[in-house]
Symmetry: C2
Subunit: 215 residues, 2 copies
DNA sequence: ATGCTTGGATAGTGACACTCTCCAACGAGG
DNA sequence: CCTCGTTGGAGAGTGTCACTATCCAAGCAT
């Protein structure tokens, strides 16, 4: 199919598709003549993934390119490819080392990892996973605002997410090839984030109404 | 204290504080002379909250202003104030009604709310909570990519978040005044989001290593 | 033949979160 | 009393990001 058809079937304007081609998020089409290229179903699929990552997952274009590149690293195993892809996701500001609250955040995060028995993302692992820095930054911010949270407070969150991670990966293992599995894992990691956040907000609204609700 | 001291104690530059003052995120200080104002501990506290919302919670300045305004709505009860504040948080693109996948997302979301017994955010509630639209958009995107998820698949997520919402609001109820409670609820809603996401990514990395990990 | 379409390159747009530059009014040291 | 650096306020400028609009020459369709 031509650019115009790819645009129509995906709902993305040709100008935006050209932009993604330029940025390397989409492979160039098969050149038919000097001025025309042919795109296939794989391009359409990739384009939908890109859109989902950028619009629903709110991932910057540059990060999306890295994530997609990781999916195709031939010489890594599933675990490494997935790790590389998730590693490239945005993860907010790095912990501010000049702030004493960061130290508290780091200790709390480490204590939490110990309680949960998780080996990833420890401070003494070099380099720690970006998600670990994200956790430290958030705990530090809470602490600075006067909402201290201990490893004990956070353990139930970790346990709950541990269970959900098991069901997520069960879903991933339904796919046959490692390629499909890694792509599914990335799509699920990114696209379940808004699901998780929206369900949390709805759950809190529900619980708030139950406790504080008048009328 | 003067602007310079507020800046030093908060770690935010004077230029940025002036910007927040202009944008109405911070109340103006008490005017001492025609060219000088006095700020107090309350300003410092507010400034730290603003920074946490914007930098850690990644909330746009305009949304932060609305969220903060909701905290001080005198004629609303706790439940309404919290609802208004959470309502003002960013929630991604609205569902694309021209896309048939949205219809699937909406039906799945409604079925999920039924299973969970939640009354908020139904499609037939007018207007539905923004978090409901966020959920529909995400389910639709998953569907479009060929990762269908049913209400049954999502129910464990809802149950898990229901439990966490209970512990969140237990924490909130430790504060005495409704004002403190609402502020705490907003801070916890926003700042626990990165905690949740980072723990999920770490949990998935852990589980992926357990299943796929070589070495 | 001719007029619309295509792919590619370049430049422009609008939103956003600051950040810089000025300026007159202070206020502390000499 | 008189500098002279500092302060708060206002407006314009900056850098980034995700597009988006404009050109252009080379097709293709009629």
């Amino acid at each position: 199919m031509r650019l115009a058809e790819l645009s129509e079937r995906s709902g993305v304007t040709t100008a935006t598709i050209k932009y993604y081609l330029r940025e390397g998020l989409l492979h160039p089409g098969r050149r038919v003549t000097a001025t025309q290229s042919e795109y296939d179903e794989e391009h359409l699929r990739r384009l939908r993934l890109v859109r989902a990552l950028i619009q629903v997952g709110r991932i910057p274009v540059a990060s999306a390119r890295e994530v997609l590149a990781a999916l195709q690293e031939e010489d890594l195993d599933r675990n490494e490819r997935l790790g590389t892809a998730v590693w490239a996701l945005p993860h907010g500001p790095a912990p501010d080392e000049s702030d004493p609250a960061t130290e508290v955040g780091r200790r709390t995060a480490d204590a939490l990892m110990d309680r949960l028995g998780w080996s990833y993302g420890r401070a003494y692992e070099a380099p720690p996973a970006p998600a670990y820095g994200m956790l430290v930054t958030a705990i530090a911010a809470l602490h600075r605002l006067g909402y201290p949270c201990s490893a004990e407070d956070l353990e139930p969150y970790g346990r709950a997410l541990e269970l959900l991670a098991v069901t997520d990966l069960d879903l991933v293992e339904r796919y046959r090839t490692p390629e499909e599995q890694v792509e599914a894992a990335v799509a699920l990691t990114v696209l379940y984030e808004p699901v998780l956040l929206s369900l949390r907000r709805l759950a809190e609204a529900e619980e708030s109404r139950r406790r504080f609700g008048g009328r």
